[in-house]
């Protein structure tokens, strides 16, 4: 044999070779086997048993509290003897329903002192004072007032009071009937309506006081699905730690990195192995749930089982959605643990992520999300969407259709669409995470870095050309937190609110990051002309092109939003829009423009297209990494705008701004594009001032512009013009950059 006999190993073969090797290792790890097989088999029976015990205790308690007891009454007063006789006769003579009555009645006539003493000792439940001539008064159609002492030392329980009240009501009814007979009135005077519930069909017809078991399904399913999501994620925990951080600790990762295959193949192979274990965990969980449910269903009341919808579709949808969740869990665990150099470090890093995932899964049960709701866009939210979709499917197509006001035939496509959304989201996110894992695995700084030390965490790092990926994300996370918390404290006056928001959410985190990590400002923020070596018309082409793209994008975005959402925007968006409109109407144009267009554009471009984009792109020249960097920063840009309905538009705007920055190698065109975009509400408002009164306008804001669109009606010509602006702008930018020399492009892209 010689080295030439070793053939070219394809990507799939390499990945499968690594996957089979890792799988062999995983199945020999007792922790993995415990989490994968034993934990699910134990968890669900324990949950079911504890739930059943709790339910049973509660039922026994309710039953005990509702069971009739012996009621002991002491009567005193001059009319007590006759009243006691009358009560006893009534009890003995009464036939028919005695709903709520005590099991037995002891009625003793005592002196007031003895009655008080017996009541305080607890020997009697109630003490009744009956005035002289009470029975006669009843017969003479008067109203008799009876004072009932419930005691203060041993106060009568609610159950005693209920039984006494029921008994006395029956007694009063008897008196009432007697009076009606004496007056010669028929019973129908008292009972103008009588109801009779008729059971139709077979024994499967519902009893009116039966337990609404079908209503319990969404609640129970939701709780189980959250548990299933957490345990599925847990299945990826140890394999993922073992797969990369464990290999680093054992010194075996180098042996894989020098294998004749790409880093992506190694990561994909490891993903396949971790995914296989996660799927095995999911399967074990599903089997355990099925077995536990099979046992539990035997104890349901007769006929209850028939009232639950067929679970086949729900089970299939759940398994498919959770296969996506398992892939996402495996990719997340791998990505999170890749930067760790030891299993312990990876464990410490991954544990908070598991908690975060648990919170995301639990968010699917929030009150704002009805069980039958399929999720829509929420189906794409990682770890939440899967639970929402599965819960909706399990809650039943019938219930879901009823909720949506459509027939069952229309319910299934809705579930299928949600399932497709969640699967696509899971696959896309998993792919992105695996790309990030591969990039991190090949990163020399990460691969050969030493263990973290307490000192290095707090020591200011040495200057770099550009920030690291983590440093690129940190100010955005801090800014997001600032935006969120400021909501409760922000002043109503936008003259203060906008600068305060930009200062705390953007400039402060960015400034602190810059103070911590010194970078090359020129390269990080791309502070240079778009065409440093070009002619003036190249610079002008880029600048004008960017302005055209920005203004066109605003109108296109407003038109798209109007087409999708109509005028049904959320209350938050309406409030923001009306406040912005007020700002535009009440302040000089230059102040409105500075606050709405210039300030946000400058701050956000410095952070997103400057700091963060440079951190993500790094010094890499790989096209895929650059594309990934642009996409991720655009997603973060959309996220920081908080309002969900604005996110698609801000995401697209972020993509375009990122593309412009990368293409031109300068922050200036993106800045101009952003300013032009944010200036459009002002320009459009000025344009329509003569056509529409100010009160007709409803809202207008950076990123939504519904009211401007509504007020103007956004004629088709304007939308076409906007599309034309975007196209011409992009062509202008592309032409300006292509006409430069190759050296200049290299310089700009650095």
């Amino acid at each position: 044999m010689n080295n030439e006999s070793t053939g070219n190993v394809g990507h799939w073969r390499a990945a499968l070779a690594i996957a089979s090797r890792d799988l062999l290792e995983f199945v020999r790890d007792r922790r993995t086997l415990f989490i994968t097989l034993l934990l699910p088999m134990v968890t669900y029976p324990i949950v079911a048993l504890s739930s059943a015990l709790g339910l049973r205790t509660a039922l026994v308690d309710i039953e005990a509290r509702q069971a009739p007891t012996t009621l002991t009454i002491a009567l005193s007063g001059e009319g007590s003897v006759a009243f006691a006789v009358r009560i006893r006769e009534f009890v003995q003579e009464t036939r028919g329903p005695r709903t709520g009555w005590p099991a037995a009645l002891e009625c003793n006539v005592e002196s007031p002192q003895d009655s008080r003493a017996f009541l305080d000792d607890g020997a009697v439940d109630l003490w009744l004072e009956i005035r002289k001539g009470a029975v006669e008064a009843l017969d003479q159609q008067e109203t008799v007032t009876v004072e009932v002492h419930a005691g203060s030392v041993h106060p009568a329980s609610g159950h005693v009071r209920e039984q006494f009240t029921a008994l006395m009501r029956s007694f009063a009814d008897g008196v009432r009937r007697q009076r009606m007979a004496q007056a010669g009135l028929p019973q129908s005077v008292l009972e103008p309506l009588q109801f009779t519930f008729l059971q139709e069909g077979s024994g499967a017809a519902r009893s009116i006081d039966a337990m609404p078991i079908e209503n319990m399904v969404p609640q129970v399913a939701g709780a189980i699905l959250v548990l299933l999501a957490i345990l599925t994620m847990t299945g990826a925990f140890y394999p993922a730690i073992d797969a990369i951080a464990g290999e680093k600790e054992r010194g075996t990762i180098e042996t894989l990195l020098i294998a004749p295959c790409r880093t992506q193949d190694i990561v994909f192979g490891k993903f396949l192995a971790v995914y296989a274990i996660t799927l095995a965990t999911l399967a074990a969980n599903v089997i355990s749930i099925a077995l536990t449910a099979a046992v539990g269903l035997r104890f349901l009341p007769a006929g209850a089982l028939e009232r639950i919808d067929d679970m086949t579709l729900g089970t299939v949808v759940t398994v498919l959605a959770f296969m996506g969740l398992a892939a996402l869990a495996a990719a997340t665990c791998l990505a999170v643990t890749t930067a760790s150099t030891s299993a312990k470090e990876a464990q410490n890093t991954l544990t908070p992520v598991i908690l975060l995932v648990s919170a995301l899964a639990g968010a699917a049960l929030l009150p704002g999300l009805p069980a039958q709701q399929h999720g829509g866009v929420l189906a794409a939210v990682p770890f939440t969407g899967q639970v929402i979709v599965a819960r909706a499917a399990i809650s039943g197509v019938r219930a879901a259709s009823a909720e949506a006001g459509v027939g069952a035939a229309q319910g299934k496509p809705a579930i299928a669409l949600s399932l497709a959304i969640t699967l696509f989201s899971s696959a896309s996110l998993a792919w992105l995470l695996l790309r990030a894992t591969a990039a991190m695995l090949a990163d020399e700084e990460i691969l050969f870095r030493g263990p973290d030390t307490a000192g290095s965490v707090f020591a200011r790092p040495a200057a770099r050309t550009r920030p690291t990926i983590v440093q690129g994300v940190v100010p955005i996370v801090a800014g997001l937190a600032a935006v969120w918390y400021l909501q409760g404290f922000a002043p109503d006056d936008l003259l203060l609110a906008i600068p305060l928001q930009q200062a705390t959410a953007v400039l402060l985190p960015l400034g602190l990051s810059l103070g911590w990590q010194r970078v090359n400002l020129r390269q990080t923020f791309r502070i240079q002309w778009p065409c440093p070596d070009g002619q003036w018309w190249h610079v002008a082409g880029c600048t004008i092109g960017a302005a055209l793209v920005g203004s066109g994008l605003f109108v296109c975005g407003a038109a798209a939003l109007l087409a999708v959402k109509g005028t049904h925007v959320s209350a938050e968006t309406q409030l923001l829009s009306s406040r912005l409109l007020g700002l535009m109407q009440n302040q000089p144009w230059w102040l409105s423009w500075s606050l709405m267009a210039l300030l946000p554009a400058v701050c956000e471009e410095l952070l997103f297209r400057g700091w963060t984009l440079s951190a993500f792109v790094g010094k890499a020249r790989q096209r895929e990494r650059v594309v990934g960097a642009v996409v991720v920063q655009a997603a973060l840009f959309a996220l920081i705008h908080l309002l969900p309905e604005r996110m698609p538009q801000t995401f697209f705007l972020g993509l375009v701004l990122g593309w412009i920055t990368i293409t031109t190698g300068s922050l200036l065109p993106a800045l101009i594009c952003h300013v032009a975009h944010n200036s459009m509400p002002l320009i459009l408002m000025a344009g329509m001032a003569n056509a529409v009164t100010a009160t007709q306008g409803a809202e207008s804001a950076e990123g939504n512009g519904v009211a401007v669109a509504k007020s103007l009606g956004l004629p088709g010509g304007m939308v076409m013009l906007a599309i034309g602006c975007v196209a011409v702008g992009m062509i202008l930018i592309g032409w300006s950059m292509r006409s430069r020399s190759a050296d200049a492009i290299e310089l700009a892209s650095d």
Binding site: V9, A14, L24, D29, G251, A259
Partner: protein
């Protein structure tokens, strides 16, 4: 492993370099490597290193701690990207064509481990598959390596229960599973006792005799003094001496260790 392996071992001639016996298998040309340490400072690990290893040659890469040995070997193993300069394995540039370079190379370092829960047979088989071996060819190669490396007694025992020497031999087997013409070994005897080191080096000599080009670094100069054909002494990221043992120790003779100190002394003086 046999105490003194002989040429009876079934080693094949590396055809990749057939007809090109005088062409270097390992080449390092003006290699420069800078990296960023965990404290953020840029370390100039390799400033300018050039050398070559011919087929059938074992070359010792000598240097003090921090001289740049491991960085140089990691660049050759495609684990690090050179800042500038070139490194080639059988003509394949490690930066431009890393996958093909890896096919021609076996790499073992002192920190290279073996998966604890897999047996030597499983380890060799999985890496054989990664190198495109399959079927009978793979099975035969695994059996051959188990025999050559004297791992028969523990071939089906999890590697976590093997001795340091046995684990190092498994590592070597893993690096040789595709029978590469070039072997790059970074302090391979570090974790071994005297006997283990002697056996391993004897085995490497056998491989060299079979035509493999071997580049190894070590601090134990006496172990390789009479095994290597040539030595490259590096200090502060630069080659400060290169040649055969005789050329390094000079006409007066003496120990290699003394020659090593003499080679790095001027640089040390300059540094101080």
């Amino acid at each position: 492993m046999q105490a003194e392996p002989t040429n009876e071992l079934q080693l094949n001639q590396p055809t990749a370099i057939d007809g090109a016996a005088n062409l270097p298998v390992i080449e390092v040309i003006n290699l420069v490597k800078h990296y960023r340490a965990s404290d953020g400072l840029v370390v100039h690990a390799v400033r300018d290193i050039s050398f070559a290893v011919l087929p059938g040659e074992m070359v010792g890469l000598l240097g003090a701690n921090g001289a740049g040995k491991t960085t140089t070997l990691r660049v050759l193993a495609t684990l690090l990207q050179p800042t500038s300069g070139t490194a080639r394995v059988v003509g394949r540039d490690v930066q431009r064509d890393p996958v093909h370079a890896r096919r021609q190379l076996g790499y073992v370092s002192a920190t290279t481990g073996v998966p604890d829960r897999l047996t030597p047979t499983e380890i060799l088989r999985s890496f054989g598959r990664l190198h495109g071996l399959k079927g009978d060819l793979l099975a035969a190669r695994v059996v051959q390596l188990i025999e050559i490396l004297d791992l028969s007694s523990c071939a089906h025992r999890p590697a976590g229960r093997l001795s340091s020497g046995q684990r190092q031999r498994v590592s070597l087997g893993r690096a040789m599973v595709h029978d590469p013409p070039a072997l790059v070994l970074d302090e391979p005897t570090n974790a071994l006792d005297v006997l283990g080191s002697r056996d391993l080096l004897a085995f490497l000599s056998t491989l060299r005799s079979a035509g493999r080009a071997i580049l190894l670094s070590t601090h134990r100069l006496h172990e390789i003094e009479h095994r290597c054909q040539r030595f490259v002494v590096i200090h502060g990221g630069r080659v400060v001496a290169e040649g055969t043992r005789e050329a390094l120790v000079g006409p007066g003779g003496g120990e290699l260790e003394e020659a090593f100190f003499r080679a790095i002394a001027p640089a040390e003086t300059m540094a101080s």
